[in-house]
Symmetry: D2
Subunit: 375 residues, 4 copies
């Protein structure tokens, strides 16, 4: 089998570029052939050299143009730049007929994201978005259990994502105002909801198949002198009237990336926490609670397939990312045979658009004093 | 030291009467001298005999009257009857100058509770209400840590109380409509919020000192054909604008009495769960998470004093109840020397009144489509 | 039903006397009618008064004699004195025809224990010994599961009991030499094995039905200047050749009374830890691990019966003790109808004798350089 | 910086070859340039193609010879073949001046391993052995804490490695006799001790710096008709007389690769379990238990450096392996500047030799009825 060729824009600084690279390479389905890893020419070249990338470009525009023209040009591009550049970069590559897998969010605002979605559809191109958490093997198991009715009709959904990094940054005496993380022109008009709330929004839909209909939200800016919200609390209403709650916080001491999802049905419940991603807590009504672990034969085949190591060998964040790329790449390969649905689900621009609707609804709800707002 | 004499109304059926008795006797500060344990005369007498109670009455009215007249009459009465009778019974004993410790709720509605509060104040009598969970030793530790600023300024409060008993009842095929638990005329116009939401409302205040200012609530009746709500979700706003969230549910498979409290400050957090009541999770910002356990010398003296056994010996629900009675009885004893504040805090009619305001606000908020309602 | 009358020798100091009293009273099957609670006359009287005990004696000899003569004399006596006095006290009461429930160990050495066993048998009297841990409800569940073959043939047993109190005592600067806990003439020639190793020895037998055939042991005295061993490590061999391991330590920082039992069969395993006594971890081969909790309908009836509160209400050390007394008292009651086996198993002098054989074998094995020694 | 070139022998089947490859590539310090991945020519070529390996050989002898002659020959070779071939392959490459990193065990018996150790020393070559578990970041933290005296003087060591795979294999009805895992001529004269016991032996030394002096062991073959032992239980004695216990089992239902290490000092203890490798339980005497997590600033720099992702992002088995390679490769690089000690410790042939002494001592001890045997 011929491996796909891919390129990367950004990723030369920070850790997330390397996470994307690992993810894309992990299953030996693709090769990193081109890149523009930084606006800093030295960093760009150093990165290309370190990663053995044959074609290194000084701008993404040049990269899109040239790769679009080559016969052996890249099949897809990974975008790992700051939020405010995602849109323009994605557009460039889509216009040259190149599939896109963008770091989350898909764009800085809803209009941009919708434009990208339309453009990808028009061009018949795939557009993945790197929502990570739903790609752990046991979340797939949760989805399969829900679909097979193992916990009955869903009656409630509880999710949260507490972190402590804003408190840590403030306590360290660093000027948070200097960080791009706090600059609305780079990240948009939302910090907490957009950065981590959207992860929860996607995770719930991926794990249950339910889409969010409306949200009632209150956001807080803690400490008060920050420019954007750092804590957000919501009541949720899913399709069919299923209620839920969400909490996202970057000022929650004692938490790291403690994503937690709990799905309650009328015959059982399923719970997962990113602190121990190799455990799924399953409670069938009136039975002892059960702890599912990856790669065991009692899992659904789709869930079992999402680990690479025998049971008992911990996998982590890299492998969850690799599962996104596996789904995305296999979808590209399948498309070559004709129109195809994704064999393994992965987050797409459709999810990215819904995520931005979610952010908009949350901010509007909070601004209006916490009223219900439809997505 | 002379022990106090106490009586009990109700408690001859179910388990809660015996929990009250254990709690009141546990520290050898009181003797059960009188009772009217059931309207069923046979049960009433059997209970008195089993518990070695010398004075057994056929009605609480008779009991209140006679005990009020005796020189060696009871010092306080425990009320362990169904909710709709609490008010009249409490009133009877207060009018005879007898202190009251009532099972929660203090009354069926706010007006009754306020009347009882006023009556107790007028008579100079104590009125305890049996909110249990705040009386675990480690919740006292949490309160002390908050007061000493160990987690800084409180910025968020998360609490929940999921149970599964309604689902279990429905699944068992029992007619839930026959149970008094589902009859508004006995338990009032709220099931979930009144029965378990109020526990959370008190627990937060007991653990933090913060009082709730307003609430935004959505309740659900699951399954739909039940007469009262079984699931409730809220946004909270405490004094000083501190935000919070609450979830109470009787349809949450996989939970027993899984009361959970998390208090977030700008320098740390504290978490406790009733599933493992002998552990307090304390996170100081930037430090490893710590697990506090009871009776250890590193605890505040007030918290250390609330266990009866050396460290490593599990205590449970009985002892949490006993801590209520210890505080209540010591308060009575202190009053004999003149006006006195409670040495150990315990839940009082003031908390009972606030709890009923809370229920009223929740129902109103939900009815009006989830708007903020002040208590 | 007429309640039993019982007396207590010792128990006026420390916490264990009150634990015995709670345990004996918990099910309203007995009344504490007589006692000699301390050699200190003041303490003795204060204790009798505090506990409302009508008959208070200045010596156990007088108590045994008089209670033996009264028509309404005590039915059984609880012994809660230091180890070196158990034998003489037990003997006194047995000789007067009074059943005995003694704090562990039954006697200071094997010969004494065997004499007591013979005497009880000769007199047709019951002799209970207060090994606590096997009386938690979920250990009963474990036993039932083993008996029903749920984990197949037992192939291995792992148990441990680590504590930190000796380290704590040493670190506190207290002279450990002054404590009776370190005086061989009071506690016998073993500290760690006798005090906590025996708990494990009994626990395994109670949970599995298997008896220990031989042991290979190494003991250590840490710190070295203590008079008796504080750490003990063993290989075990049970009936049928089943292997096992045991660790008992009083110098294990980070542990309280962390009794742990794991039973491995060829079709599954069962694990329990006293740190979370309300959870039993059950693994059926090839299935998700399950967490059993008390009072649930899926438990065996004998296990379900050993809790007093509805599921979700934590019970603890007091209730485990009460389960010993419940079994013991019901056995006495059954005997009145003629020869009877215990309805609920409880630890007896037979177990106490085996425990002392175990201590002797451990010390001998360690002294001889860790060789196998038969019990 | 020029990357190292490396080759691989074996690894074309099973999962461990890919684990080695990931580990070696993870830090972009090396490139896989040559390989002989399988004796099956088709598999060999397919693997080379899949992994983009330019030089593919049909035999390891040819590979050693040619790579040894090339100017751009490989710097080191990874050996990922069955146990019985490690010795000959390693010898071939050492003789051509090529560093070796071999899958564990280093050889089939002690004599071979010692010969390899001597040969590597003579040639001035490095020889790594892939003991995985000590290379998790938090084990490095444990080592640093021990060295800095944070838990005082070590007084006891408890370790275990329970798995269930032999029971699973037997239950599946597969003929275990057909598997190479059960063939002494391939894996040597020990199954359980050699395969997983040695992991524990190395882990303890890596985490504490203590070396094992003698062992007392009992092994069992469960089920009885297997050719080699599947369960092993030991008393340990470390340098300075420090006692310990070890349990290794492949017939322990309910466990996966549940490596557990507990180090007890006279001022505290440290515990780690592979089921949750991102948590280190640290108990300072008399203080609350603490849970350390990776990449936090409170860690020692050497421990913090061993994770690649920000705190809260789970790492796993692949990254533990990558840490071995990082230490090994940096050592090779350092050697180029002249004689050098390893900057980061990694397991070497010295550890491999000690491991085989350990296996020999265990088998001898067990055979002689469980007596103490010096390594």
């Amino acid at each position: 089998m011929q491996k796909l060729r891919f390129g990367m824009v950004g990723g030369g600084g920070g850790f997330i570029g390397n996470v994307h690279r690992h993810g894309a390479l992990d299953d030996d389905l693709a090769v990193l052939t081109a890149g523009c890893f930084s606006r800093d020419l030295g960093k760009n070249r150093a990165c290309a050299e370190k990663w053995d990338v044959p074609r290194c470009y000084v701008s993404y525009e040049e990269m899109a143009e040239r790769e679009g023209q080559r016969e052996d040009g890249i099949d897809f591009v990974t975008i790992a730049t700051p939020n405010n550049t995602h849109y323009a970069i994605a557009k460039s590559f889509l216009e040259r007929g190149i599939h896109v897998l963008s770091d989350k969010p898909a764009a800085l605002n809803l209009e941009q994201a919708q434009e990208l979605e339309a453009l990808a559809a028009e061009k018949g191109l795939l557009f993945g978005v790197s929502y990570t958490y739903a790609n752990y093997a046991l979340i797939r198991q949760a989805r399969n259990m829900v679909e097979h009715g193992e916990i009955g009709k869903i009656i409630n959904i509880m999710c949260e994502y507490p972190q402590d990094w804003v408190l840590m940054t403030v306590a360290s005496g660093q000027s948070v105002h200097g960080s791009w993380r706090f600059q609305p022109e780079i990240i948009g008009n939302s910090l907490c909801v957009a950065d981590i709330g959207t992860h929860l929004e996607y995770l719930v839909t991926a794990a249950t198949g339910l889409e969010l209909e409306k949200v009632l939200c209150a956001v807080q800016t803690i400490p008060e002198d920050l420019p954007l919200e750092t804590n957000a609390q919501m009541l949720l209403r899913y399709a069919g009237g299923v209620p839920g709650m969400m909490w996202a916080s970057q000022v929650a001491a004692g938490h790291e990336c403690s994503v937690s999802l709990r799905i309650y049905g009328d015959k059982g419940s399923i719970a997962w926490n990113h602190d121990t991603p190799m455990q799924l807590r399953v409670a069938k009504l009136g039975r002892p609670v059960q702890i599912y672990t990856p790669e065991r034969d009692y899992l659904y085949p789709e869930a079992k397939a999402l680990t690479r190591l025998p049971y008992g060998h911990p996998e982590g964040f890299y492998e969850a990312f690799a599962n996104i790329y596996r789904g995305f790449i296999r979808h590209i390969l399948a498309l070559r045979q004709g129109p195809a649905a994704a064999e393994y689900p992965y987050p797409t621009i459709r999810d990215g658009v819904r995520g931005l609707k979610f952010v908009r609804a949350c901010l509007e709800s909070s601004r209006r004093g916490s009223v219900w707002v439809h997505l």
